[in-house]
């Protein structure tokens, strides 16, 4: 298993540009998450999904959109990039077991985004 993969690893955007951060997991996990990590800070949840077709906002959703058409993929869309979105973005996944959310998240390697 490759686990959780993210592309690209690094990207520079101009203000107002759009882009999609890709996230794929091959562990058949129900739950998927997008976090951002600003310098010197912990992770903040942007959006999460409990299964294909179901998404919900996290702590910092403004300026982002997500979709979950398949179990494997959970892309994050930035429509109008702003300097405040300069950050490192992590995708994560976890499974559902015996009716309880699996407590361990598996993280991707991250995407570093710079908006100038």
């Amino acid at each position: 298993n490759a686990g959780v993969t993210q592309t690209p690893k690094f990207r520079i955007l101009k203000i107002g540009q759009s882009m999609t951060l890709q996230c794929t997991q091959d562990m058949n996990h129900n739950y998927m998450y997008w976090y951002r990590q600003d310098p010197g800070m912990g992770l903040k949840l942007i959006y999460y999904s409990v299964g294909a077709g179901i998404t919900d906002k996290g702590e910092v959703p403004n300026g982002y959109n997500v979709s979950r058409s398949t179990t494997e993929d959970f892309p994050l869309r930035l429509e109008l990039a702003a300097p405040s979105q300069t950050s490192v973005y992590f995708c994560a996944s976890s499974s559902l077991r015996a009716g309880r959310a699996q407590e361990t998240q598996y993280f991707g390697p991250g995407t570093r985004l710079l908006v100038l």
Binding site: G42, L43, V88, P109, R112
Partner: protein, 115 residues
């Protein structure tokens, strides 16, 4: 929302020595999980150890162990026989046991291992 506090932005330890990283959290829930994640310069988040709140026994993973004090809402990480590869940012995290609930992360502790 739950909060997770790591009061030590930076720590250092001599190689082969022991170091303890502190974490406190605030919650009104009784059923939850706690985690320590390691983030090396590669930026990838790596699970170090986890603790279920309903278990009184402290979790242990090789050189890593925790001191879980539920009443005090404290969850410290002890690294024994520190190695150069232990140098990284360490994040404490909380997750409710409820379905679909999110993780809450602390701001991290940067650990330096001195040869």
């Amino acid at each position: 929302a739950q909060t997770v506090t790591q009061s030590q932005p930076e720590m250092s330890v001599q190689e082969a020595e022991t170091v303890t990283l502190s974490c406190t959290y605030d919650t009104s829930e009784s059923d939850y999980y706690l985690f320590w994640y390691k983030q090396p310069p590669s930026r990838q988040m790596i699970l170090v150890i986890r603790q279920e709140a309903y278990k009184q026994q402290n979790a242990t993973e090789n050189r890593f162990s925790v001191n879980f004090q539920k009443a005090a809402k404290s969850f410290s990480l002890k690294i024994s026989d520190s190695q150069l590869g232990d140098a990284a940012m360490y994040f404490c995290a909380y997750r409710s046991a409820l379905l679909g609930n999110q993780f809450y992360f602390g701001t991290g502790t940067s650990l330096t291992v001195i040869p």
